[in-house]
């Protein structure tokens, strides 16, 4: 009997934990053997995390980073989705705007930091602007692609039931494109989280990115640097997991399956 072995529940947790433990071990030994005075042991990082938590600045920093992402990302979604839908809906408009989009899109949002500081000065608006830029393009591109790949058959069916242009966009095109739009939104959220950290290293003096750079600058506290890095990773993961839950909503789930 050749039955594919399904991993049991405990195995799903057990092996990743083993892998992580091994990595920590390797890290510890690496620091030990190299005799470095700068790079911290895993245990000192752990102490660093508890120190950060006790000092309360950590929560303020996390809050600041999340707030910047929330604002920049929301503005990008609120403007990017309608713009993307319109561009997908009017191919003529898309032809005009598309070259411009394609030129702006590959520019790393990091490269915008000097410009952002010129525009907004050092402070929150500059960081939010960077997050906005980072998330805007993936959202627009996903919406355009989503709308233009809506099968003709759905539009025809919509017309057949007497829908006006606007109703067709609202009741057919948008829901049909929604799975692709969600993919764009998810990519954008990931990029936004990457960029906020980079932006905070330069454009502001709070947030997780600032924590990283500040820990290094004020006394080479690499235990705190690595602690902040780990937190950034964990929060990014949490954001992604939370977003993935949206894909299980029933009215979009059809778009995330291999079949149909």
């Amino acid at each position: 009997m050749s039955q594919p072995k399904r991993p049991r529940v405990w195995e799903k947790v057990f092996w990743p934990v083993v892998a992580a433990a091994l990595l920590l071990c390797l890290w510890h030994c690496g620091v030990q053997w190299s005799g470095t005075k700068i790079f911290p042991f895993p245990l000192s990082v752990e102490k660093g995390i508890t120190e950060l938590m006790r000092k309360h600045v950590l929560w303020a920093d996390i809050g600041d980073s999340l707030r910047r992402v929330a604002i920049g990302y929301s503005v990008a979604a609120l403007t990017g989705i309608p713009i993307g839908l319109c561009l997908g809906w009017f191919p003529a408009a898309n032809q005009v705007v598309n070259p411009l989009l394609q030129i702006l899109r590959p520019i790393s949002p990091i490269a915008w930091i000097p410009v952002a500081i010129v525009f907004f000065g050092v402070g929150d608006p500059a960081a939010i602007f960077l997050v906005f830029l980072a998330s805007f393009f993936p959202i627009v591109v996903a919406c355009v692609a989503g709308v233009s790949s809506v099968p003709v058959i759905y539009r025809r069916a919509g017309r057949n039931f007497g829908l006006s242009d606007f109703a067709l966009l609202r009741k057919i095109v948008f829901p049909a494109a929604l799975p692709q739009i969600l993919i764009g939104l998810r990519i954008a959220l990931g990029v936004a989280w990457l960029v906020v950290v980079a932006g905070e290293m330069i454009a502001v003096d709070s947030g997780l990115g600032y924590l990283v750079i500040d820990s290094r600058n004020s006394g080479k506290r690499y235990d705190l640097v690595v602690a902040a890095m780990l937190l950034i990773g964990l929060i990014g993961l949490a954001l992604d997991v939370a977003f993935r839950r949206l894909e299980r909503v029933k009215s979009v789930r059809w778009g995330f399956r291999d079949a149909t």
Partner: protein, 262 residues
């Protein structure tokens, strides 16, 4: 339902749909291709007409012109004497597959064209058609969790729910397996006999045409002309091994130019 709903003698002699010297020429890569040529056809109210022909001959094009999705280059289509200028809720096109909206439940799909009705009326209409196509218990199921046959029944239900005079079906069972296809034919006949809409049904399946239609229209290869209109004078339920049935079937095979010995 409608005035044409008279049991027994199904069809009245009133013309429902008339195609008059219909012709379609379109251009592809600078080449002019004639798809349909001089199609003249009268379809009676409540009639079930099947259109068969070699693949790629323009059967679907004909259906799209009748449904108002394509404008003819010559001639016209009139329904109840009124020229067809665009798609309309009074005549619904049912597609081969993937015609149902995957983001809506069974209920949502059937209710799709009913937004102008009051809530109570809509619920009642939905319940009626859920029952008619035998999807009870699946009201809140999404199409991705339905079988191919159920999805096609759903598509037919969605079409019927807006109370159209005419249903255009474009190879609706073409993507189903052969057993499901036979069951679906029975279902469609049952629905047609209770609802009495005019049906124009495009198929490439000779048996399907002989089993379902009052008349079968045979199109020639491109540019498609009407080669033959064959009335199927066998009453329902049809015995598919009766001599008359086989005779008609052979006649159709001959018309299409198929050998009927393999």
């Amino acid at each position: 339902m409608s005035a044409a709903h008279s049991a027994g003698t199904a069809t009245t002699n009133r013309h429902k749909l008339r195609a008059n010297q219909l012709g379609i020429v379109y251009e592809r890569d600078g080449e002019r291709i004639a798809a349909l040529e001089d199609i003249n056809l009268d379809i009676k109210d409540g009639e079930f007409v099947c259109v068969v022909g070699p693949s790629g001959c323009g059967k679907s094009t004909l259906l799209n012109v009748m449904g108002g999705f394509l404008s003819p280059t010559r001639g016209s289509v009139t329904i109840d004497g009124e020229p067809v200028t665009g798609p309309d809720q009074r005549r619904i096109l049912v597609f081969q597959e993937r015609g149902v909206f995957p983001w809506l439940t069974v209920e949502g799909n059937i209710g799709f064209g009913l937004s102008k009705l009051s809530r109570a009326e809509r619920q009642q209409r939905i319940a009626h058609y859920v029952q008619l196509v035998r999807l009870q218990g699946f009201e809140h199921t999404y199409p991705s969790d339905l079988s191919g046959g159920m999805r096609q029944r759903l598509q037919v239900a969605r079409a019927l729910a807006v109370n159209p005079d005419i249903l255009f079906l474009d190879e609706p069972f073409g993507a189903l397996d052969s057993i499901t296809r036979v069951i679906m034919r029975g279902e469609l006949l049952r629905i047609w006999q209770t609802e009495r809409r005019t049906i124009v049904f495009v198929t490439h399946d000779i048996d399907e045409a002989v089993q379902l239609a009052d008349r079968v229209v045979v199109l020639s290869s491109r540019p498609a002309k009407i080669q033959k209109v064959l009335p199927i004078d066998v009453s329902h339920p049809r015995n598919i091994s009766s001599p008359r049935y086989l005779e008609l079937r052979d006649e159709l095979l001959k018309q299409i130019g198929l050998a009927y010995e393999i």
